[in-house]
Amino acid sequence: MRNRRIRILFTIIVFVFALLGLIIPLSDNVNDISIFRFFPNINLGLDIQGGVLLEYSLDVPEGVDTSNVVGNVITVLRRRMDNAGYTEAIVSEVVSGGESRVRVEIPGISDTQRAEELIGSKGKLYFAEVLEVVESTTTPQITRNRTIQINGEQIEMYSYVRDSNNPNLWYRVKNVFEFGDSPFQITGLDVTDAVASLNSQGAGFVVNLNFNNEGRQKFELATANLINQRIAIILDEEVIIAPVVRERISQGRAEISGIESMEEAQNIAVLIKSGNLPVDLVKFQERTLGPTLGRDIVTTIINAGIIGLIIVMIYMIIVYRWMGIIADIALVYNSLLLMGVLSWTGAILTLPGIAGIILTFGTTVDGNIIIYERIKEELRIGRPPLTAVKFGFNKVFSTIFDANITTILAGLVLFFLTSGSIRGFSVTLIIGVLGAMFTNLVVSRLLLESTSHFLKPEKYVKGIVVEKGGTK
């Protein structure tokens, strides 16, 4: 009896736990897809709700340890996503086959161009003195070039840089300013803030830059010496603008003007603010799914799953009668439990994850069938219902345990060795199989033991005379 009380307690506690996970608002997701609208706490993967997944490998120069730069890249990309308004984006490191990569997932967008522009840009900003402007369709040759060492970095003194709007326009620039005591550069590191806005004095849009102290001094020194000459603002080896300096600028501010669209201005501001990417990123894979198509696909799959499930539930009732009804209750119980755990843990549900859920339906039904066949065997040899149920459960314990532990072991291997959507599969599989074991061994047992008088042993007993109506 004590056992049963513990089972009742566990059954109810677990049920309430699952239900709370579904009801308490844990996140501000809005799931409007199929049955997920009833489970707003479940994080849906991009292959379900639509969005873009971009994965990049790092083009690390030889001799540099990738693990040192990955963190830096993630920070820069995270900042870029936030500044650009994609605050829901997930930026993460993916380790696979000994190689580190960076993955950016942005839910809900289908136009990937802007995201790709932001991610792919190195965001390297610097100012340079313009020596010459040439018009040519090919890269002009630099004849006399020399390098200079600044802060341990080897910098080429002169280079040709293309105009960002006119691919035929080239600027010969001097990358290093040689005023004052020692040569210096003005880069994105000297900028504290970059804000995009409408140009109040003319056409187009501007980006206002604010320098830090050191940057302010350097900028003042440079502008003081370059009056009536042009100074180029270069982002990712393209000249954004090369205005003529009219006066010495000492307020620590600069303005990049002549930008054609607000979006471009915002992109430039985001890139400058988020800092430089230390390495080039090479696109490894892209998966973009439009939100409407995603919704259609998932709805179709779930509808098919539900139809199948209902047929199975009816089948169970036909074959196992009262025990079939209990199997169906167990199935619903385990489904709620799974959804609850997914809500609590914030695990991401992917399409293969839905496949995992379907598999755990199978495991739950299977566990019940194993139990019921055993109970039937016990009834056949003439045991009374309650004893048959108890014996049945005791005997199937090791079967259910062994059969499911192997599945969980396989799931764990998968979880640790894979990434992305297959990992989503292993997550739902592990949770679901554990839930199925609990449901079958505790919940089903409780229900069957309390309702064992509904079982009709005479149906299973052949050749044994049963006293009819004699018990009560």
Binding site: R287, T292, D296, A304, P352, G362, I370, E377, T406
Partner: protein, 302 residues
């Protein structure tokens, strides 16, 4: 309880399985697999139009963009149940577009070629060849390590011969199902991998239920020879095996029929796998253990 002689006919079924495996291997070698972009690399693009095109019209349009796209795979599809009054096509090209400008240029020329039908890019999956190779390699690691762990577990809980039997049955199921994928040209992609993993779990589960009963019956009936114990055990669990298989089959088969293209690779694998897995757990997994157990007894006596 049924009383079917599973064990007595084991030689026949082992030969039948060997024949099926041989057939699968030949089909795989001759016909190969229909690899999706996950494995072969390239781009799979789902586009929709507000009017219908024939495959030839689409191919001509693609060919104009790049003569290489004459070999593109084009499938008309219907994402199902949708409210969208549009026509969907899946275009698979070998190219991957790692650089944004290239991809944009491709999309722009698509829009130009089919300018009068409001083209929409619904899905864009771009996997570089390297990614595909890598997915394949980590899948293998996962499979090998999982097999070792499972062999160890079954050896601890049962006996080494049972572990080998379970894994042979598993390999049997997977190879034959792979043969079916090849035979019917079902796409091999990540969801197909998920199907194989599911199938592995299912096959093992089924096998272990039988093994468990054999273990129980062996301790209960000491002295009874292994053939009879095995046969008795299989007969005792067959109703459960058939009921479980049938219920699983119902779900996956309906998914295959109604679930649409994106789940088809998964549902196909399970629909075939359930049948093969049930067969192997009844006729293959336990009968081959008998051979091993007997051989071991002989060597122990000698």
């Amino acid at each position: 309880m049924p009383n079917i002689d599973f064990v007595g006919k084991r030689t026949f079924f082992i030969y039948l399985s060997l024949a099926l495996i041989l057939f699968s291997v030949i089909v795989i070698f001759v016909k190969g697999f229909n690899f999706g972009v996950d494995f072969s690399g390239g781009s799979e693009i789902i586009v929709s139009f507000d009017k219908s095109y024939t495959i030839d019209e689409l191919r001509n349009g693609l060919q104009k963009i790049n003569p290489d796209y004459a070999t593109a795979k084009i499938i008309q599809t219907n994402p199902g149940g949708g409210t969208l009054e549009r026509f969907f096509y899946i275009i698979t090209v070998r190219d991957s577009f790692p650089i944004l400008e290239e991809k944009q240029a491709f999309i722009n020329s698509l829009e130009e070629s089919f300018s009068d039908s409001s083209l929409n890019i619904e899905q864009f999956n771009d996997v570089s060849g390297y990614a595909a190779r890598e997915i394949r390699s980590y899948a293998w690691y996962a499979v090998i390590i999982a097999l070792i762990v499972l062999l160890a577990y079954i050896t601890i809980r049962f006996q080494f011969s049972y572990g080998v039997g379970a894994i042979l049955a598993l390999a049997h199921d997977v190879i034959i199902t792979l043969g079916f994928y090849s035979l019917f040209g079902i796409e091999m992609n990540l969801t197909a991998i998920a199907a194989f993993l599911t199938l592995a779990g299912y096959s093992l589960n089924d096998t272990i239920v039988v093994y468990d009963r054999i273990r129980e019956n062996r301790t209960k009936n000491r002295g009874m020879d292994i053939e009879r114990v095995t046969n008795k055990s299989i007969n005792e669990v067959i109703v459960r095996s058939l009921n479980t298989s049938l219920t699983t089959f119902i779900v996956v088969f309906i998914m295959l029929l109604l679930g649409g293209r994106s789940i088809a690779s998964f549902a196909f694998g399970l629909t075939v796998g359930v049948i093969i897995g049930t067969y192997s757990s009844l006729y293959i997994a336990s009968p081959i253990v008998i051979g091993m157990v007997k051989r071991r007894k002989k060597t122990q006596k000698a």
